[in-house]
Amino acid sequence: MNDAQKPALLAVQGVTKAYPGVVANSDVSFSIREGEVHALLGENGAGKSTLVKMIYGLVQPDAGAMELRGVPYAPADPRAARAAGVGMVFQHFSLFEALNVAENVALGMENPPKLRALAQAIRDVSTEYGLPLDPGRMVGDLSAGERQRVEIIRCLLQSPKLLIMDEPTSVLTPQEVEILFKTLRQLAAEGTAILYISHKLEEIRSLCDEATILRRGKVVDTCTPREKTARELAEMMVGAVLTPPARSGGAKGAVALQVAGLSVDSPIPFGTSLKDISFAVRRGEVLGIAGVAGNGQDELLLALSGEVRTARDAVQIDGVGIGDQGPNERRRAGLVAAPEERLGHAAAPDMTLVENALLSGAVRQGLVRRGFIDWAAAKGFAQTIVRDFDVRTPSTGVAARALSGGNLQKFVIGRELSQSPGVIVINQPTWGVDASAAAAIRQAILDRAAAGAAVVCISQDLDELLEIADNFAALNEGRLSAQRPVQGLSIEEIGLMMGGAHGMEVAHHGP
């Protein structure tokens, strides 16, 4: 049967949703047929999440209508959406780490069967769709990819007609992405429609049949992704022509940051301990550290920033051991760090931008004299960051939580990069930031490297690392792979460095 003749499964017509101060969706229309993999493409804040939340019953539209299989569809809550055959896998998992897989799946079901029967059902579905998963394992012990399988299987057990996937590959290795895509293609072949949200363009090109592109809450275009290049898709998404960051192939200097035999027990429950990590970064060099979330990235940042202390010589700056020093001593030695989590870690949500500028800038910017705070200087520093990094904010007096995620990210990255550092450690520099801001942040990092800073960039975005890093290594279960020059590295090699597909190889788990 020709695709175009299949009946529309879900039709969205003229849907509008406004929040105070922002129109998230304005007159959005699109439709999905049975068995179609449909991409929703757009930058952060384009309105993708609001749109799928309406389809999943989490949010009600202000205007417009939806039809499911020709019948008006207005789910009052996610339960109604699930009953109508709509399932959703969220970007952030809602799983209990202290429970096992079957128990977690049961918690998400309306009428869960007996656990033993459920465990069998999980095994059946997981073999049918090639998603290996042991129902008896504790979720706390699973990798991010395996946790996602729990969420997917939870949806599949309810045999949905429409499956919504919100940024599913952000936590997966390339091999795991392949497994996921195989599953999704099988589901589509069986007639399940899949609404796929992502800003990873190559994935959308290889997986999706149709794409609806959103910008500032409006549908700006539709296309067949296979017929477009990634660059064309990106420009449709951003609405502007993008320039990749410029790299200077300057000479590298002496080793600025040396990590030798770093082993740290994770301070985070269910965290990953670091095991014998060693690397060196020279002045002017960017070391990209890849890895699936939860393989020790947070712990590595804590150990480098000084929030977790180690043996003195495990971390050295310019040949001086600082492993036993706290964050401010390390800042004095020239090291700045930007943690992944913006609100609550890199910034205090209820404090103003001036106070947040003081938070990590006090030492290197000289904002404190004999214990007393120079508020005028702190304000000046905050204004410099806002100006240099194009942070959109009414003033520096607003609370950090009032900024959008992307703007706050620009602020916290800008705060660290503005301190003329000798060593920069960043975890997820462009997480949740729109494409043009991400390009600006990457350019700023490269500029600091060109000025002689040694940079460690931890990221789950491989494209980003390939774009800015000179050397590449991957974290896998708290161990760091050997460093490889980025040039000449294939995506398969990277995937293997990241540990391949978790749970796919027998050898991986040992005897």
């Binding site: 800042r331 870690h345 910034a347 205090a348 404090m351 106070e355």
Partner: protein, 361 residues
Amino acid sequence: MVRLEKRPSPSRFWTMATPVVAVALTMIAGGIMFALLGKNPVEAIRTIFWDPLFNEQFASYSRPQLLVKAGPLILIAVGLSLGFRAGIWNIGAEGQYIIGAICGAAVGLAFYPVEAWYVFPLMVIAGGLGGWAWAMIPAILRTRFATNEILVSLLLVYVAQAILASMALGALRNPEGGGFPGSRNLSQYPAAANPELIAGTGMHWGVVAAFIAVIAAYVLLHRHMLGFSIRLAGQAPRAARFAGVNPDRLVLLCMGLSGGLAGLAGLFEVAGPAGQISIDFGSGYGFTAIIVAFLGRLNPVGILLAGLLMALTYIGGELAQFMLGLPSAAIQAFQGMLLFFLLAVDLFSNYRLRFGKREAV
């Protein structure tokens, strides 16, 4: 339908208006309670809030009492507020207050009857150290063994009360007191006394210390890096660690500071208004100061005003018991309402009410 919506930034208006609205609501609810008890609510409210200050018959006695009662409340509450801001919950100020009084009084009594200028200053130091040391017990237990400082500091209050009773009956008992419990009267021993500094005002050294503490805490919180660390640790503990704040050091510092100030309050009380170590010396200032700290929104200036207001309800409450025959439980319930309404209205500084349907369906 009514629902709450989080504000993007805390409302300045509600931050200021909260205490006023809470006091007004307390008057209304309290008035209803007094009416149900068969008293004239208007008269009861007037007796509590107005008569202590302006009634011709009582004001000359009760007006100085305002500072006498407010002084220790403010001094203790300022110390507690620093810890509360950092998320460190010292609930045992009453115990630190008692131990401070015992230590200070013991130093004074040891010098009796020496008349020397240095006796009172030494008592002040001993009082502060006593409170500090008592607060160090929960602080060290927390930093070393991760115990809960709320529980430990609270339980130490009962230990302190037992020590107080034993001191009043034993080591510190007045040898010339005819066997009655209680120490010598320090207010009648000039070198150790904490007298009224300006006649008719109730102002004594403890009140002076409270005002100094208010100013110092204000400067600390708004101008000093330590105050910033305290606020940061309370609002975003992980961000505080990122900023280089050592959480253990902060616990020791905040507990020690609040304990020291509570100990000072105890010393000034025992050497002045109370006069002696007696079994019933602990009068609940340490607990009421918790209410004062929150009523003042953990802000030093707010605590100053809240301390005065709380002292007023104490004095007025006593007056109402005496004049109108209101049961003391009703007065305590009235004070409880104040905290209740304060915390309830406080919600509006971070949330706003939305009327109407949740979403258009």
